[in-house]
């Protein structure tokens, strides 16, 4: 194996801000007071908040040091399954920070916003083309918001037909947020188990689908990284009872420009621009979770919608059946610019990006399937799911192994998800890792599997090289200390 990426590094200790500074120290100078003193009403005065007294350099060094403890896609491989932590090209950031875009005010009149409106209009068309759907709203702010929007659209559709359905089918291989989005919309989730091949069988869906069921929420590719091969037949079953098919598109990175979602029976699909379309994420936002629909759901899309007439773009609120507004103004515009920039710079290569994402995941799956238990041994999409079944004999768990991966300089993959695999290790390499880096990752995991046999304690104590060693997650959850 090549020299490991992981080292102890030059990492400095840093106390909390309250452990720094000195009474009276400050980072700015107030101008000399040139007005009369005026006493405030006593009700308005009192002790201020407990802020530390710091200079500018105290604050800058504090956050700079903390940032060196961090690990991101710009640091190294971040194979977090289900999250698509691909490298985000810097050109996207450049476009998003152009003054005309970064400074565009949402209250500017349409006549002064033609460029921004056109960009949103075109981005909607691009997303339609990539997914094979008819119309798009860019308004939802993230994936779960997109799911919720999708549920509202399905609700509005049934209502327009004078129906009120109460249930929605959610398979065990769907994203964990799906039942929550359905519940928030007033639907009761009906769980369905995937079959022994890790996908949904039409029979299982037929058994629970009835005229009181609003539809189904599938994640395709699903959370096992497998393509739902029976989706067309499942969609026919759901449609035959008047239901709608919602697809969670969080795993779209496997199928950009490859699967025509409309043709396989999807009625509404959400995308995560912050995953698939390469804008930084993982820090809590902002995200962008557009919904793409087929023609019959378009009248219900949220307002305002970007429309074009004779080459003039404007925002229209005149959509009588719309489910209404879901976000201030028109969503997270900065994310949209980055996705627009990404799509235009990739062009037809978007399809190749998906192909490489799938190839990389299958390469890892094949290289590691002799070392780790592979519950579903069949071609995967953009991610593969192993378990700790083999290592269990040495009392080594998934958690121990992925903690050890940090010592080798990699971000751990997603663990203990999906729930259908006991002790799951879910690896999504994405298309942006080179073969050399993927090989290094594979070597690291093979070395860890060997350590699990020969020196399990090394894994129980891992990570041992990092700035912060094994965290006590139990105490952190049972007795959280959220103070500064």
């Amino acid at each position: 194996m090549k020299e490991s990426l992981g080292t102890t590094g030059l990492i400095l200790n840093e106390p909390l801000l309250w452990g720094k500074g000195k009474k009276g120290r400050r980072a700015f100078s107030l101008p000399r007071r040139d007005v009369e003193t005026f006493l405030l009403n006593e009700d308005l005065t009192g002790e201020g908040p407990d802020f530390p007294d710091l200079s500018e350099v105290d604050v800058v060094r504090h956050y700079t040091r903390l940032s060196t403890w961090n690990f991101g896609v710009d640091t190294g491989m971040y194979p977090l399954g289900s999250c698509t932590m691909k490298y985000n090209p810097k050109t996207n950031e450049r476009q998003a920070s152009l003054p005309g875009l970064a400074g565009a005010h949402p209250l500017l009149p349409g006549s002064l916003s033609q460029g921004t409106l056109r960009m949103m209009f075109e981005l909607e068309r691009y997303l339609s083309e990539i997914t094979g759907m008819d119309a798009v709203s860019l308004q939802p702010a993230a994936g779960a918001h997109g799911e919720f929007t999708g549920m509202l659209l399905i609700y509005a559709y049934h209502k327009s037909k004078g129906e009120r359905r109460s249930k929605i089918i959610v398979p065990d291989t769907a994203h964990g947020t799906n039942p929550a989005s359905a519940t928030l919309c007033g639907y009761q989730s009906i769980p369905v188990k995937s079959n022994e091949e890790g996908i949904l069988s039409p029979e299982a869906v037929a058994k629970v689908m009835d005229e009181d069921t609003a539809g189904i929420m599938v994640t395709n590719p699903n959370t096992l990284g497998l393509f739902e091969e029976n989706i067309k037949e499942i969609a026919e079953i759901v449609h035959s009872k008047g239901g709608q098919v919602y697809c969670d598109g969080a795993n779209m990175n496997a199928v950009m420009g490859i699967v025509h979602m409309g043709e396989i029976g999807i009625d509404v699909l959400h995308l995560n621009l912050h995953k698939t379309f390469s804008t930084p994420h993982g820090g809590g936002g902002p995200g962008c979770g557009p919904v793409c629909v087929r023609k019959h759901l378009e009248p219900f899309l949220p307002v305002p919608r970007v429309i074009e007439e004779n080459g003039i773009y404007s925002l229209s609120e005149d959509i009588p059946e719309s489910i209404g507004r879901l976000h201030a103004f028109y969503g997270n515009f900065g994310v949209m610019i980055k996705a627009y920039s990404y799509i235009l710079s990739m062009g037809a290569n978007l399809k190749k990006a998906s192909q490489l994402a799938v190839l990389n995941a299958n390469y890892i799956k094949e290289k590691l399937k002799d070392v780790f238990h592979l519950p579903y041994d069949r071609p995967c999409m953009h991610e593969c799911v192993f378990s700790d079944k083999i290592q269990e004999a040495n009392k080594v768990t998934t958690l121990d192994m992925v903690k050890r991966l940090m010592d080798y300089g990699f971000h751990p993959p997603t663990i203990y998800f999906p729930l259908v695999v006991h002790g799951a290790i879910m690896i999504e390499p994405t298309e942006t890792e080179s073969k050399e880096d993927i090989d290094l990752f594979i070597e690291a995991l093979k070395a860890i599997a060997l350590e699990a046999k020969e020196n399990p304690d090394l894994l129980h104590d891992a990570p041992s090289r990092c700035k912060v060693k094994r965290l006590d997650e139990t105490t952190a959850a049972r007795k959280p200390c959220l103070a500064g």
Partner: protein
């Protein structure tokens, strides 16, 4: 994780397929989760229990248990009205790990139909079922 042979499966309680246990007492039934369940979940950090006076049917979800790994639902081994809940679990959810059949009990129920207890498994049957899951 424990080997199946190391599990503590007392004979004075009945078991469900979802790994809850039920212990008949004078007029009530005490309910919790099995040693196998707590071992599989790992360190438990939060237990969500119902209100006293609520009623549930057998098999209905009455709460959730959250460990560092996952959140799992809790299902009623028998139907009935909630007479008591173990408030100690609010402060010390780890009791479920330390003492799943005693201090880590979850709810006490006035059973609607005590015959439902007969549908549950004995410790021997439960042990066999666990071996089947391996």
């Amino acid at each position: 994780m424990k080997e199946i042979s190391d599990l503590n499966l007392p004979e004075d309680v009945c078991y469900t397929e979802d790994h809850e246990w039920a212990r008949p007492e004078d007029d009530s039934v005490r309910i919790g989760i099995s040693d196998y369940a707590q071992d599989q979940l790992g360190d438990i950090v939060f237990v969500e229990l119902p209100e006293i006076g609520d009623t549930y049917e057998a098999g209905e979800e009455f709460g959730t248990v959250e460990s560092v790994k996952a959140v799992s639902e809790l299902y009623m081994p028998v139907g009935g009205e909630i007479l008591a809940v173990n408030l100690d679990l609010e402060e010390s959810p780890g009791l479920v790990n330390e003492s799943p059949y005693n201090d880590g009990w979850m709810i006490e129920v006035k059973p609607g139909d005590p015959a439902e207890l007969d549908d549950l498994m004995t410790s021997d049957a439960y042990l066999e079922a666990l071996k089947g899951e391996e």
